[in-house]
């Protein structure tokens, strides 16, 4: 029994280390992407999730660091917002239950983007980044 248990035990720290790394990596990344308080250096776009959709305000900004302040007012079926460009997910915020808010910041190149909020009546809104 012991002989069987030992390798299992020996393996756990390794797995643990990997996951810690993953965790550290995650928090490190979020540092550079952290949002809200330091939005002075970029533009802030407000998006309110409603059962009808997710219109950004403003719908057009200049290229650079853009922070999306997303809040879910009363859309019980909608719980995420994705920023996409040519169908590719650029950034997103998940698990936004009604009443919750969150944000994500991304360096945006000029171009046409879409904001997608699955399960809303109109689940896509256009968003433009100008040079």
């Amino acid at each position: 029994m012991r002989a069987v248990t030992r390798p299992v035990l020996a393996m756990l720290p390794a797995v643990f280390a990997v996951s810690l790394l993953a965790g550290a990596c995650s928090s490190g990344d979020s540092g550079s992407k952290s949002s809200g308080s330091e939005s002075g250096t970029g533009t802030t776009v407000t998006v309110v999730l409603t059962p009808d959709g997710c219109e950004p305000s403003p719908a057009s900004v200049q290229a650079g660091k853009v922070t999306f302040e997303v809040s879910n007012r009363d859309a019980s079926a909608v719980d995420e917002l994705e920023l996409k460009k040519d169908g590719k997910v650029v950034a997103e915020k998940e698990n936004l239950a009604p009443g919750l808010s969150g944000s994500f910041t991304h360096n945006l190149e000029p171009g046409a983007y879409e904001l997608e909020c699955p399960n809303a009546k109109t689940d896509e809104a256009t968003f433009t980044v100008t040079s």
């Binding site: 928090s27 698990n95 239950a97 399960n119």
Partner: protein, 285 residues
Amino acid sequence: MLPTFVIGLREGLEAALIVGIVAAFLGKQGRRDALRQVWLGVGAAVLLCMGVAIALRVVSAELPQREQEGLETVVGALAIVMVTVMIFWMRKHARGMKKELEGAAASALATGSASALVAMAFLAVLREGFETAVFVLAVVQQPTGGSGLPTLGVLLGIAIAVAIGWGIYRGGVKLNLAKFFKATGLVLVVVAAGLVMTTLHTAHEAGWLNAGQGQALDLGWLVHPGTPLASALTGVLGVRASVTVIEALGWLVYVVVVGALVVMPPRRRPAPVGVAATTRSPAQL
């Protein structure tokens, strides 16, 4: 209360399902030692996730969503491999059940496999844990809250998911061997196919996969977003209101290929009828 309940249930189920399957499998093997490691691993993963969530909260940083989706994709892929190997392992051993499974140590899973299963359970919790812990904290500290109902909702959702995972474990262990192998073979194929869909979905959200993102199926009539049923369908079977072409394709290919291999009669001679339903010695349970 319902919206937070639904999210808690969905995220919880995605983790509890895999842990439940792993635990049932190890329990069935009489691997109490490995089972203990599973519980320890799950506990460690929960603590780790809560720690990271609290740290993120303290420095008021958001969870890096892209990396999170990447983690979900990698662990999802590992889980698909694990469940597939499990399916074939059981198919192979179901036939030789008498000599291989009832004979105590001879039947035992190789140590490496048991360790892999333990690691799998740990990773399965990490996969959903970071996100869920961040969500729970956000709900608890919700400025507009006050009523405490959203908090109750999310905790209840997670509690029910854990209960279902525990049910899978206990149910799996209680089934007799013949039934266990028969029932789990095809069920696991469908569960793994669901994992294929979920993993293709998270791969897209991680920005890794952009092919076949058109809608193939509108399951809005079945999966009403924001309801407990939708959570259960997404959490257990990977089914969403809108299924993309690549997700539908991945599901179909998996179900057809692996399903056919499971249904196909194996080349080994079948075990004699009547011995299949025998119980195990108490020492093994």
